[in-house]
Symmetry: D2
Subunit: 336 residues, 4 copies
């Protein structure tokens, strides 16, 4: 027998990816897909790839979610808390927004503004001990897309004491779906194709989340918009605390992710390709040490809508519901 799930904010890109994954999931059954402006419209009018699901957007109201055992919230940042408060305590929730990720209310206020809604279990199962916490949780705050790409690359190095947490520099490029389905001129195909550009340089809201998840203390983070629909490539560099070579860095990462179904430290010589993770829950990592400066360099690739949002959310939901962690998910990207 299936478990009834609902997707709130299903007209966005993360919402659409949730519907795609849930529509093929062996246990979860979609009982509602809600939207604001698009309520009443067929899902295919927004997501042409989902036409064979035959769904219609319901309005985003608690009544529409009454039959759901588990609800995925894929709303703009700051809108999850109000809806979550109206759901029964027995309804499991995975929030793909930022509302419940941070434990420090002051940092929330600084980077997001408004009132801090609270703190839920952080939905990154590959962090030490986190998988067990997610299994026991009824409320999970899914990771930010840049945060998961950076954290998977950085956290083990700081935990192992090989990277200096005070001097971390990250430059990460994202496909355009990371900006959501917003009607802004700089997101038009005409202006994006053939273009790379930075945005929110020096002040991105994922910085406190990354610091909280990794233990980094000094973090320079530069996000870049890249001309592709999906994918994040994060280049994480850190000053080593002592003598270490590429093999040493790789060994730390390999130990951290031994047995993980979705995180792969690539064979030596292979560097991550975002396209290799497209549509999947995979994260690919590779590392070296710069021959000139001696800095540690780790690159990680994920699909921002996959491991960076919807697939990660399904992974958490699987854990919360006692299902196999990999149910309905794949580590094989759709490429080329």
């Amino acid at each position: 027998m299936g478990i009834a799930v609902a997707v709130v904010g299903a007209s966005g890109y993360a919402g659409g990816e949730l519907l795609r994954l849930l529509g093929a999931h062996p246990t979860f059954d979609i009982v509602a897909a809600t939207a604001h402006r698009n309520a009443g419209a067929p899902v295919h009018s927004v997501h042409p790839h989902l036409v064979s699901l035959g769904l219609t957007f319901a309005p985003t109201e608690p009544a529409a979610l009454a039959g759901a055992d588990l609800v995925f919230l894929a709303l703009p940042h700051g809108e999850s808390a109000a809806l979550a408060a109206q759901l029964p305590a027995t309804t499991r929730i995975v929030d793909l927004g930022a509302d419940f990720r941070l434990s420090d209310a002051a940092l929330w206020a600084r980077y997001y503004g408004g009132t801090h809604a609270g703190t839920w279990t952080y939905g990154l199962p590959e962090l030490p001990g986190q998988r067990e916490l997610i299994k026991q949780a009824d409320r999970v705050a899914n990771t930010g897309c840049y945060a998961v790409a950076t954290t998977l690359a950085l956290a083990p190095l700081i935990a192992a004491g090989v990277a200096d947490p005070d001097d971390v520099v990250v430059v990460a490029s994202s496909g355009t779906s990371g900006a959501g389905r917003n009607l802004k001129a700089h997101l038009l195909a005409t202006e994006v194709m053939g273009d790379l550009s930075g945005y929110k340089v020096g002040a991105h809201q994922h910085v406190p989340e990354i610091k909280q998840a990794t233990g980094a203390r000094g973090l320079s983070f530069t996000p870049i918009l890249a001309p592709m629909p999906r994918g994040i490539l994060a280049t994480v560099t850190a000053r080593p605390t002592g003598d270490i070579d590429a093999a040493g860095v790789r060994a730390v990462l390999a130990a951290a992710y031994d047995g993980e179904p979705f995180v792969t430290v690539l064979p030596e010589g292979a560097w991550p390709h975002t396209a290799a993770t497209y549509g999947s829950n995979a994260a690919h990592l590779q590392a070296t040490v710069d021959i000139d400066s001696g800095r540690i360099i780790v690159q990680s690739a994920i699909d921002n809508l996959g491991k960076g949002a919807a697939a990660q959310a399904v992974q958490c939901a699987n854990l919360m519901c006692g299902l196999p962690e990999t149910a309905g998910l794949s580590a094989l990207g759709v490429a080329p």
Copy 2:
């Protein structure tokens, strides 16, 4: 218990897509993935997205295929026959090449050159009666990518007598994976991105296959290379044999594909998007009648590596092996 399958020519794009689909298939187990130049190399060195499969390319030799109950051949046109001749009669084969598609040896010689290898059961289950033939076949010739996009749009209209088979004009654009993994300058990213160009204009080798599958007698076919990795959008126009409007054309198509799991005649007003079929076995169709000329216009979208190659091949293999036709396949494209 699983069914052992092998992929010959696994280093190509269709071969890689077969491995991706088979790697997640509930019944088929990959026992061999063969290649020529890449024999002995890890599969991820060619297909980074398949790193978690942990496979290595075997040499393309009959011995490597000994354990396979079913073999997929994904070789360049003209190379399948020699290998097929070396396989036991009890080994089922799906050939993704063109070798066994045509029934007319003279047409083979004109469009492909060389000796005609023979004719196998044509692997397009949605043609009337063809599904049953595939179920009984041990040898299936998978469709050409342009051929399936065009045939799905055109065959029902000619069969129903509403389209004149003597005046069909098709212009179809394909993503670059349709050209294979060939190291040619005009396929380099630098030259393709931002570019559309025709090729083999007026003389494409899929013309006789389309005529054979649809009953068209006069067919102008123009293929175009489009700046995207996958996807075919075919615009099929035909002179109507009598009075017909858009609703009438749509009704013919809807009747032909009623109940089909992978072919969708889109709701009125929605036109096919290739991206909506990406990574799937879906085909999307829409039709109208030109207000100026009165010509019937049907557009169809598929993934050239999906319904146009690998996913279609798995669909045929499912039928040949008595499995559910949809096993391991999806009608949901990976988008955006």
Copy 3:
């Protein structure tokens, strides 16, 4: 001494291309660049590539155009007539909109709606006799982008009597800038990259313009949105009126464009690439006869913002002002 020019609707893509060309033109001096919502904003805030021009958008009002000897109107269809009526009769005007292209008021009403504004000299210098008319005109209606791509391919064939004007089928794909700077979800980079899709299938507004310019009587026209910022590739097919081979078709085109600085019938074997015309006023043509159906096939490539809009407008303005026709223009595309 320079000639003062103004660009009305300079915040759009065609407007931006006009500013780029005029900013480097040897004779024309930009005295005003107007916009509606963006009036008062620096031009670089909309067109980052024009930052070194140091311009600011003026409001779209007759007063802002007072100092201009020639005005380019790059407004949405239907908005040119009202503004043109407020300009002095001595001010030369090139209208990039559709308002004054059609001579048949009924066709205007059918395809565009509203009141027909009138008919100006049609701005396609390569049509027989048209160059002289443009030289003498004070008001020129610049061509539609699809219309110029199709007309250059088709008009000589109908004029020479080799193509049947009653059975013309055109399928043309355009880069996204052809849709303008409209904030619509289907034009977002996330949804366009990797996607081809048809739109306005069977009823595009350039059909009457093409028929008027070419003499075609039965015209099926299918436009497709392609994942690239600029460029149109038109595939024009027509039934031959008699025996003709590829060389014959090529000879007709070569004769028509002999000596033209911007239209090139490509050497045999080379097919047009849209990228080869990027940023230029070039049009590239190639032709063949289909070996199966015997239809004539001509492909043409242009930059929809170049020969399809802004560069063509400058070409016309050069003629109107008695300047060298090629002043400030190039036939060399910016590629790759």
Copy 4:
């Protein structure tokens, strides 16, 4: 009267861009365009956008260059020296390769291998004093593409003493033309579109050139291949030597480039877009200070074939020949 110039290695992407610029240059006349394998072929067979130039590739031999007053060498690294040695001392040369950029033979050996050919005047006119040296030089070593993007962002900050030269981290993404016209699978459109990936991570050959040009002592440089034909976006971060804010960093850059025709420090709030420099000789810069780590962040955008190669080479040639520095060049990118 014109100055006769030749392009050696004209079949590559930088060679093609040189031909495009020189074909429209007011003073330089192309007397030879040479190639190896393509000698004897029409230039349009390799560069379809240059069809109207009507050129044919000559063989790469000194005899073909006899009539040239100035020769541009656009050869693979390591091949310039041998040819340069065969040219008369009176023939001016601009080498777009790396052969003569480095002053330290040991660094040449470490990063490029083989014998160090020597050191020519470094072709970056915007460096203090460099413009005068170029004017007097007969031999100029054009900059590397990553080097110019990084150096323009970094050199003034180190020269002004505001950035610590021992802790510089650069992550730079390049369009695929930076990899040249090499027939490698990872450069195929099918594999690049939708993909970002690192390469030569931790050991790129432009590191010693950047250090030499900027005075940086500790430099971590990570190059990334981006899915676009042209453009480099470099993110340069450095630890500040003292208290400095974004305005302070911007003031240093603005002072360094005051009056420069091709380098623009963007207005506050605007970040560089590679597309805005496409086809031009422009470099766009913007800077800030990270609110978390306090690091200086400068982003620079150039066209790797423009300011990063061919346009920069023409700028140097203009200076060497006593022409206006901006002759035949534009600061206006071709966008969108």
